[in-house]
C-alpha cells in the first residue's frame, strides 16, 4: 500500500466544531433585510373540488403583504412528470395540497391570515389503495391523465418499468425449488434535523436569488429558471446560495411547491420571502420513501444455484409525481445483480392515489427491493435444505462478471463481506438455535462510482492557491452533512502535498461554483473526488513549473511535501509553497496558479430495455445481526450488529464509519420501528413522539468492517458509501428473527404486534 499523508486518516469533519457549538448558519438562521415570512394553507380533504376561495379578509389583516392562490398565479408545473402546480386550483388531491399562501411581516401574522382564508370544497370520493386505484371505475386523481394503448383516463402512470433478461418462465420450469411471496413496505420519513426552507429574493431586474438547502444546486437552478419563464420572466438569472444543510438523505433532490410559492410571493411583494417548515409540515408536506407491494418468486437448483428472479411491484405514487416514481430504475439493480441470477423479470406500476407522494430517500428503492430479495433467499435456502450462508456464498457475485442488466462488475468484495460477517457471528455455532435468539444476514449491491441517471454524471472543480499557500477548492459538490468537504480536502491535500487544514472548500453558490449533477447515488466522494483530484494534478503541474524557474531545477525533478516544494535530487533545493506563489504573482508578466477540471465517469445511461453499465464500479456489502425475541411480548432486541462493506478504499475511516452507523441506524428504524401512519391519506404521526425514529438508547453497538478492494477508477481507490449502510438492514433483521423464533414477517416495520400475532398463528 502507498504511503499516504492525508488519505486513510481519521480526520474529523471540517465543520464539526461550528456545528456542535451552534455557530453554523442554517437556512433557519438566515435573515435578509426587509424579509417577509410566508405560510401555506393546506387542504383539509384528501380529494375535493375547490368551489370558491375568499382571501379578502386575510388580505385586510394588518401586516399581510400578499395572499396568493392557484387562481391568481401563473401556471407553473413542477416535478419530472409535470403534474404538480405550486398552488392548486379547481381541485385538491391530497391532504398536503397547497391551496393558498400568505406573505406577512412576521410568521404569527402570516399564520393568523391563513385562518382568515375561506375555502369552499365539494368532497370527492377518494382512494388510498394503489391496487384498488388501478381498477376500472376507481375515482380518477388526475382526470386529464391518459394512459395505456387506448389513451384512456387512468390512475396508472405512463412509466412502464420493465426489465427482462433470459427466459424466466423456462427457468422456472427447470427449477427444483421455487419460493413465492408477497412483501410490503411502507412510507418512512427522512427525518432531517433541519426542516425544509428557503428565502427567495428578486433584484430590480427580476433576477432571482434563492437561499436554499438543496442537494442539487445546478438542477434546482434550472427548475427555478423554468418557473421564471412560466411567470413571464424569460432571460432572467437564477442564483442558488446554499446555507449549511441539516441533513438531506435524498429529500432535497427535487424542488418543491414551497420553493415556488416563496418565489411567487417574493415576486408579488418585491421583498425577500422566507418559508420555513414546522416539524409537522416536514412530516406531512415533504415526500417520504416510496411504499411498495412486492410479489416475488425465485427459484434454485438442488445444489442451491439461483435459476430465476421474477418480481411484480405496485407502487403507491400518491397524488403527484416526484422521484419516488423512478425508484424502480434503481430497484432493478439488486433485482438483476444481487447474487448471480441468470434469468430476471421485473415489472412495476406506479399508481396515483390520494395519499402523500414520495421522493428519493437514501438507497432510492434499493432497501425496498433488497428486503424482498434477501428475505426470500433465506426462505429458498430453507426449502433447498441449504444453510443460507452457503447459499449466499454459492451465488455471490465475483469480479469480472457481467450481470443480466449488463453491469460490468469490476472490483467486488462480496464474498469477503459474507465471510467476515459469518465469522463475527460465529455462524456455524449460533445458527438454528430457535431459542429466542437468532442470527441472520443479508447482502447488498449499490452503484459505487456514481450513476449516469442524467445525460451527464459530471462534476467540476476549480482550484486556486493564494499568496500564503492556502488552497481554495471550489467544487460543484454538495456537503449536506455527510462530510464531502472534508473528503475533497483530503484528496486535494494528498495530491498537492499540503495539509488538510491548508485547504478551504467552497460549495455554496452557483454564481461561483462549477456545475454538478447533484449529491445523489452515493457519488460525491467518487465523482467530485476524482474531479478535485484532476484539478489538483493540474495545479501541481503549474506549481512545479513556476518553482522550477525560481529553484533552477527541472519540473520533473520537483515534488511537494508538507507545504514545501523540493528537488528530489538535491533536498537542499527547496522553497515553501507561499514563497513560490508570491514569486509567481509579483513577477513581471506574472502567473496565476489556478486550474479547473471536469470529471464525468465512464458510466452508461440505461438503454430502452433498462440495461447498461450504469456505474463504472459497484459497492457490495453484507450485514449480520443477532437478535433476541421476547416470545411473550413480540419485542425484538438487537444484540450484535456487523456491517461489512466493500468501500474500495477508506479515504477517511471516521467519516466512513459515520456513514455506516447512520445508515444502519436508519435501516434498523426502517426494519423495526419507523413508519408514517396514514389513515385515509392523512399523516397521523407528524411528530417525533409518534414517529419512532431510534433514540441513542435504541441504537445497538454497530461494528463496521471495512473491506478494501482498491478500485482502479476510484479516487485513491475509493467507492461510494453514502447509501449502502441501510440497504441490507431490514432483511438481515427479518432473517435473524426467523432464526430466533421461526416466524417470517414480510411487511415493514416488524412491530412487536406483528411478531406476536405470527407466533400465535404458528402455535
Amino acid at each position: 500500500m502507498q504511503d499516504f499523508i492525508n488519505i486513510g486518516k481519521r480526520i474529523p469533519k471540517m465543520d464539526a466544531e461550528e456545528k456542535v457549538t451552534g455557530k453554523a448558519i442554517y437556512i433557519h438562521d438566515l435573515k435578509v433585510p426587509g424579509m417577509l415570512y410566508g405560510k401555506i394553507l393546506y387542504s383539509p380533504h384528501p380529494h375535493a373540488k375547490i368551489l370558491r376561495i375568499d382571501t379578502s379578509e386575510a388580505e385586510r389583516l394588518p401586516g399581510v403583504r400578499a395572499v396568493l392562490t392557484g387562481y391568481n398565479t401563473p401556471p407553473i408545473k413542477f416535478g419530472f412528470y409535470k403534474d404538480n402546480p405550486p398552488l392548486k386550483a379547481n381541485k385538491v388531491r391530497s391532504y398536503r395540497d397547497e391551496v393558498a399562501a400568505v406573505a406577512a411581516i412576521d410568521p404569527d401574522i402570516a399564520e393568523d391570515a391563513l385562518n382568515l382564508i375561506r375555502v369552499e370544497y365539494e368532497i370527492l370520493p377518494a382512494i388510498f389503495d394503489p391496487e384498488e386505484a388501478m381498477k376500472e371505475g376507481a375515482p380518477l386523481i388526475h382526470e386529464e391523465h391518459l394512459g395505456g394503448k387506448e389513451k384512456k383516463p387512468t390512475n396508472v402512470l405512463n412509466l412502464p418499468w420493465r426489465l427482462i433478461a433470459g427466459d424466466v418462465d423456462e427457468a422456472r420450469k427447470n427449477s427444483d425449488y421455487v419460493a413465492e411471496d408477497r412483501f410490503k413496505v411502507t412510507w418512512v420519513a427522512h427525518c432531517c434535523l433541519g426542516t425544509s426552507g428557503c428565502v427567495a429574493q428578486f433584484d430590480l431586474k427580476n433576477n432571482l436569488t434563492m437561499y436554499s438547502n438543496t442537494q442539487i444546486p445546478s438542477l434546482a437552478q434550472k427548475d427555478y429558471l423554468d418557473a421564471l419563464s412560466a411567470m413571464g420572466l424569460q432571460g432572467k438569472k437564477a442564483r442558488v446560495i446554499k446555507a449549511m444543510i441539516g441533513g438531506g438523505f435524498g429529500s432535497k433532490l427535487d424542488t418543491y411547491a414551497y420553493e415556488y410559492i416563496a418565489i411567487l410571493l417574493a415576486h408579488k411583494t418585491r421583498k425577500p420571502v422566507k418559508i420555513i417548515f414546522s416539524r409537522e409540515e416536514e412530516f406531512f408536506a415533504t415526500s417520504p420513501r416510496q411504499p411498495a407491494i412486492i410479489h416475488i418468486a425465485q427459484g434454485c437448483t438442488k445444489d442451491g444455484k439461483l435459476t430465476f428472479r421474477d418480481i411484480r411491484m405496485t407502487l403507491d405514487n400518491g397524488a403527484y409525481t416526484s422521484w419516488g416514481a423512478t425508484t424502480p430504475s434503481v430497484m432493478m439493480m439488486p433485482i438483476s445483480s444481487l447474487y448471480k441470477v441468470p434469468n430476471v423479470r421485473y415489472v412495476a406500476k406506479c399508481v396515483y392515489t390520494n395519499n402523500t407522494w414520495s421522493q428519493a430517500m437514501r438507497g432510492y428503492g434499493n432497501p425496498q427491493a433488497t428486503f424482498a430479495i434477501d428475505s426470500q433467499i433465506d426462505i429458498l435456502a430453507e426449502m433447498a435444505g441449504i444453510d443460507p450462508l452457503d447459499f449466499r456464498m454459492r451465488n455471490a457475485n465475483t469480479p469480472g462478471e457481467v450481470t443480466p442488466q449488463n453491469f460490468r462488475i469490476n472490483t467486488c468484495g462480496l464474498r469477503e463481506c459474507i465471510d467476515v460477517v459469518a465469522q463475527k457471528l460465529d455462524w456455524r455455532q449460533n445458527r438454528g438455535r430457535r431459542d429466542g435468539r437468532g442470527i441472520g444476514m443479508a447482502s447488498m449491491i449499490h452503484v459505487g462510482g456514481g450513476a449516469r441517471v442524467y445525460k451527464s454524471d459530471g462534476c467540476g472543480t476549480i482550484i486556486k492557491i493564494d499568496d500564503f499557500g492556502t488552497v481554495n477548492v471550489i467544487t460543484g459538490a454538495t456537503d449536506m452533512g455527510q462530510g464531502a468537504d472534508t473528503v475533497i480536502a483530503q484528496i486535494v491535500a494528498e495530491e498537492l502535498g499540503v495539509r488538510v487544514e491548508d485547504v478551504v472548500v467552497t460549495h455554496t453558490d452557483t454564481d461561483i461554483c462549477p456545475w454538478d449533477v447533484g449529491a445523489h447515488a452515493s457519488r460525491t466522494t467518487f465523482v467530485a473526488g476524482n474531479s478535485a483530484r484532476g484539478a489538483a494534478k493540474k495545479v501541481k503541474e503549474q506549481l512545479l513549473e513556476v518553482a522550477a524557474k525560481s529553484l533552477g531545477e527541472n519540473p520533473e525533478n520537483l515534488d511537494i511535501r508538507d507545504r514545501t516544494i523540493f528537488s528530489k535530487n538535491d533536498p537542499e533545493k527547496k522553497s515553501p509553497l507561499g514563497k513560490i506563489l508570491r514569486a509567481a504573482h509579483y513577477a513581471a508578466g506574472g502567473k496565476m496558479v489556478m486550474a479547473e477540471h471536469f470529471y464525468d465517469p465512464p458510466n452508461e445511461n440505461l438503454d430502452k430495455e433498462f440495461k447498461g453499465n450504469l456505474s463504472v464500479t459497484y459497492a457490495y456489502g453484507t450485514h449480520g445481526v443477532e437478535v433476541e425475541v421476547d416470545k411473550e411480548t413480540g419485542q425484538v432486541k438487537i444484540l450484535k450488529y456487523i456491517a461489512a462493506h466493500d468501500v474500495g478504499r477508506a479515504i477517511n475511516p471516521m467519516l466512513l464509519e459515520g456513514q455506516v452507523y447512520g445508515g444502519a441506524t436508519m435501516g434498523i428504524g426502517y426494519a423495526l420501528t419507523e413508519r408514517l401512519i396514514l389513515q385515509d391519506g392523512k399523516v397521523m404521526n407528524p411528530n417525533f413522539l409518534d414517529y419512532k425514529m431510534l433514540t441513542a438508547k435504541d441504537v445497538p453497538n454497530i461494528e463496521p468492517i471495512v473491506v478494501e478492494t482498491d478500485d482502479q477508477f476510484g479516487p485513491f481507490g475509493a467507492k461510494g458509501i453514502g447509501e449502502p449502510g441501510l440497504v441490507p438492514t431490514a432483511p438481515a433483521i427479518a432473517n435473524a428473527i426467523y432464526d430466533a423464533v421461526g416466524v417470517r414477517i414480510k411487511d415493514l416495520p416488524i412491530t412487536p404486534e406483528k411478531v406476536l400475532a405470527a407466533l400465535k398463528e404458528k402455535k
Binding site: E632, M684, F688, L689, T695, K697, D698, T751, E753
Partner: protein, 323 residues
Amino acid sequence: MKKFDYLKPHTLDEALSLLNQYGNRAQLIAGGTDVIVMIKQKKLFPDVLISLQGIPGLGQIDYNGMLRIGPMVTHRAIEKSELIRKEFSALTDSADVLGSVQIRNVATIGGNIVTAAPSADTAAPLLALGAQVKLKSMQTERTIPIEQFFTGPGETVLEKGQILTEILIPKPLPNTGSAYWKLQRRGALDLPILGVAVLLSLDKATVTCSDLLCTASPISTVLHSLEGDEVFCKEVRIALGVAAPTPMRATKAENLLRGKKISDELLKEVAETAAKEAQPRDSLRGEAWYRRDMIEVLVKRMAMRCIERILRPEETIFPVRLW
C-alpha cells in the same frame, strides 16, 4: 405562539390568590414540558402563566412515617432518590423511563399527575403505592386517594383555584416490593403502549430453597423449588396505565391474590383476570388486543419482580447504573 404574562409568586398563598384573581385566564405552570407544548399546539390559550417555580418547599421529598413528595419535585430527583428506590421502587421505575434525561430534569411529578394523560408514567405506580394527593384552595384543603383524582383523559377533580400541593405515600408493610414496567417502542422519548405497576407484600422475606442455584434462578423457578416453605400474599395492588380512560386498579385480580399462597399458577390467573377487567382501546399507539395480551404478560412479570425485590433486596439497593 400566543403571548402571555408570566407571574412568579413566592408563597403558596400568593399563588392561590393570583389563581383566584385571574380565574380562567390563568394557567399554572410547573416544569412546563406539557404546558408550553400545549400552548404551541394551540390547545391552551392562557393570558397569564403562574409559575410554581419560586415557591419554597414544593420541591421537597420528606420521609417521616410517610413519604411526602412536593409537586415540584422533578422526575430526575425521584429517579436519583435512594430512599425511593429502596422503599418505593415502582416510582423509581417510572421516573427513570419518562421522556429523556433533559425532560426529567425539568418535568415535575405534580405536572405529570395534573395533566392526567392516560399514559402518565407516574400515575400507575402512585396508584399501586396507595398514594394520596393534597388539594388546596384559598379556603379549603383536602386529601384524597389518587384513584379518585382522575376522572377522564386529561380530566381530574381539581377545581378552579385549587393547587395540588403534596403527594403522600404510606410507609409500606414489611416485606413489600413494588415494580413498574413501561411497555414502549423505543428506549426513550416515548409514551407507554401500556404501563403496569404492582405492589406486593409477603408474609416473609426469607425462604428455604431446595436447590443451591436458587439464588441465581428466575423467581418462577424459585417458587417451584421451595422446600416445604410457603409464601403468602399479605397485600397486593395492581395498577394499569393506558388500559382505560384513566389510570386504573385491577381490583378483581388483587382480590384473587390477597391472602393467598403465592404460586406460579395463581399469578398467571391473577394476570389473566387483570387483563379481563381492563378496558384498553385501539389507538394509533397500540391495538386493544395487544394491550390486553400485554397486561397478562406484564402483570405476572411485575409480580415476579416484586417477589424478587423482596427476596433479593440487594437488587433494589444498588442502582441500575453505576455511572
